[in-house]
Symmetry: C2
């Protein structure tokens, strides 16, 4: 069968785009920069959502919903935030259309102009802190631990399916605390939750750390991030958690009386992950044959394909397949039995390989006679004929094994791709010829970071937690440095 | 304790608004017509979503996500649809802000004007059918059974929390079929799903039927609805399912080759329910003391309140309460143990009554000595001291009993509120003095329906399924009629 994908080696960006389209995950829409998330792609998002939502609730958070629109003036209230967010955004200026004079269409009704324009939320700190103002009077009202699942819009000029789209789906946590320490701890707790989710569910090892000032969220005092490595050696920021200090409380005048009756501003955090994670999931694990999905996030974990030559055989094989399907369902495995007789089994094999279904079971007459079944793993592409007896238990174990294997493969690749360099030439050479993460010394200034980016396109991805302290010299300026930081080219 | 709510008798609208605010369900936001759904209100929506989503998937549907923005020109493509939807809507005209010259804020950048304005979706038929065009070539691509959970915006002039807001959350199913009959069956199936959901989960009896032409969805050939009765005698349309014929397929040129190779336009349905359901849930069951929530949708099904006079007693009572909490959790009951020592138990009783928690357990020293516990039902406000032994099983049964009781009470009220009238005077008198549903003859014309509405504010809620055929005369015009239709004043 002809390969349907451009290979990664040939053109990684093209491979990614082909894969997203051909596996039926998403496509571009009629609206510039906005994508349609197709059912198979959305099913991955639903699995991500369900698990993240569980983890948020286990850590004491509740969901709520805040308005899509934000009054323009709100953006001017926090000085840094306005610089970062109030620029490329969708602006609602009118609230009515009318029939056009030629009778052929509709046009904006100029008399229905809003007094104050509304911005389609690019993130919700402003509207939420304006709301919290009414919720918080005393320390008894704190903490507020709220999350929102929502769509947001940022008018990106260059978009790529899942990775960067004008509209995307995400969750944004917004918490309010009585003390600085509590907010700092929350910020850390949530980046740990994201790291655990990436590791255990996405099979994606990540490096956690602080962002440099340049890369910080607009309005934050500290931004924590998880950074993952893609197969082309570029980094992907997969989630961020921000310590906002009292900036938004001051901008929106949110104060509380503490236990001693003293009035103070409230401390804040915000944190989010988005449908971008799906892009990261695809780029981290998939191969030239198609998607490779970790079982914990795969919409279909096991597919059963019947193999037959006659109607009689079809009936026998389907009856047996149905038995196996029911056995697997009892274990909570999501299983698809593709009984369609409009497609040949070879076509189905290729289809589920492309779609990254972790385990494929094929069942023919010989299997029924011998009490066997063919088990194929998507991660290794290996096939094995196994006894039918106890197959359900074996599949349960195999799914765990595949999950672990995908993780270990990504971990191994990531670890091999962390390079320690000490000179500017080495830095440029590594970036150009090897890619991956680079641990290097930096003088700690925004100017130097800026220059490095201009000359190499590499940015500081993070300053890892528990970073080893060691004396060194900045790769660009030669000025003294106390620790290495993590550089990479990034999505 | 002073009553915190206006009574229903005094002012039903005020009672409703007080209740939504004071029970912490939702509040108005800084954006005209947009609400903030607070955690307790959102938790009800999550329970509704989870159950509806299960029912959609059991009937073969998948979720997907389509763009928030719709190009203005799309609305002109379906003639009826444009009349109904392209009027009061939010229009995005620009995509950038810039710093204002006075340096104090931001303003719309006039150079960043969109060539074609984008409409924030009021409903998604147009963008979805524009997408389906690319998904459908042959009968093998059909049916498409897709649902979307999303926010939509309709620029309403008079808004009320949950019942009518500019932005609201909903689900919209959009299906595509090869035959008319299949689409007609799907339309009916989904209104049946909604009716079942209302009955079994919301404890809300509904009348199902066809909308009259006046009340039909813009672009539909037939609209089916479920109509519920609120305690003030007004009807609430709680869900609709539309048979769209080939209108959208024709507007967006979506054709397919059938089994015989003949090309035809695709048949369509769409169906939706929204956060409005929360308004209906509140208005159908709650009383002057607060919310009354059916156990199946209550965020907290059981609350345990400890009663004590000393720290020693507190510890004993809390230890026992913890045991009971764990027992209940094993049955999958969502239970809150309110151990806070910052609030008295009387305050807690009032709070959970206001919040509609179906069962309240109170536990004091005497209970521990006697092996008993006090069980209070929110629906009947009755209290009973029960043996602690086997209390978990009793609570499981009690929750079912409460669910049934709330339903039966609403059913009884609804049935008593259906009036059969034959004359215009009787019609007006019933509307004015009794309210409720009125079954009356109508001559079948849009003009008459319009006149009835102008004179009485009553509309035809639906023409019930399996409606009894009987000869009669239109209450307004005296013209012959073959069946009664269901009238009411409505939200």
């Amino acid at each position: 069968m002809a390969k349907v994908l451009t290979s990664r080696k040939e053109n990684y960006a093209q491979w990614y785009n082909d894969l997203v389209i051909k596996a039926g995950l998403a496509e571009n829409s009629a609206v510039r920069g906005s994508m349609v998330i197709k059912p198979y792609g959305y099913a991955i998002w639903e699995k991500m959502q369900a698990q993240l939502d569980r983890m948020f609730k286990e850590t004491g958070h509740e969901n709520a919903y805040f308005p899509l629109f934000i009054p323009k003036s709100f953006f001017s209230k926090e000085a840094d935030h306005v610089e970062g967010f109030a620029k490329e955004c969708a602006v609602v200026t009118h609230y009515r259309l009318r029939n056009s004079e030629d009778g052929k269409g509709v046009e904006v009704d100029p008399t229905a102009k809003l007094e104050e324009e509304l911005i389609v939320r690019p993130t919700s700190e402003t509207i939420i802190w304006n709301t919290y103002k009414n919720w918080i009077q005393s320390y008894r009202d704190l903490p507020i631990l709220v999350n929102q699942w929502a769509n947001v819009v940022r008018w990106e000029m260059r978009t790529r399916l899942f990775l960067r789209t004008a509209e995307f789906l995400w969750q944004e946590g917004h918490t309010a605390h009585a003390t600085k320490q509590e907010a700092v701890d929350e910020t850390r707790q949530m980046i740990d939750v994201y790291a655990q989710f990436a590791r255990e569910h996405m099979a994606l090892p990540v490096i956690q750390g602080h962002k440099s000032e340049n890369e910080r969220f607009a309005g934050a005092l500290d931004t924590l991030a998880i950074e993952a490595l893609m197969q082309d050696g570029k980094a992907l920021q997969a989630g961020t958690s921000h310590f906002l200090g009292q900036n938004f409380a001051k901008a929106f005048d949110v104060t509380f009386a503490n236990k001693e009756g003293k009035v103070d501003h409230v401390w804040a955090t915000s944190w989010g992950v988005s449908t971008r994670l799906i892009g990261g999931l695809i780029m981290a694990h998939s191969d030239d044959n198609g998607l490779v999905l970790p079982p914990k996030l795969a919409p279909i974990q096991v597919v059963i394909v019947p193999i037959y030559r006659s109607e009689e055989q079809y009936e026998a094989v389907v009856a047996k397949g149905e038995e196996i399907r029911k056995q697997l369902l009892k274990h909570g495995i999501s299983v698809k039995f593709d009984k369609r007789d409009t497609q040949k089994h070879g076509w189905k094999f290729a289809e589920y390989e492309l779609k990254g279904v972790p385990v494929r079971l094929a069942l023919g007459m010989r299997d029924i006679e011998n009490g066997t079944i063919e088990v194929a793993r998507r991660d290794t592409l290996k096939k094995e004929v196994m006894p039918m007896e106890g197959i359900d238990e074996k599949i349960v174990a195999l799914l765990d094994e595949i999950q672990d294997n995908i993780y270990n493969k990504a971990l191994d690749f990531r670890d091999k791709s962390i390079h320690y360099v000490d000179t500017w030439d080495e830095f440029k050479d590594t970036l150009e010829n090897k890619g991956g993460f680079i641990m290097a010394h930096w003088d700690g200034t925004a100017e130097t970071e800026q220059k490095i980016q201009e000359q190499t396109k590499a940015t500081i991805r993070c300053i890892p937690f528990d970073n080893k302290q060691e004396e060194g010299k900045c790769i660009l300026t030669g000025k003294p440095s106390k620790e290495r930081v993590l550089f990479a080219k990034a999505y």
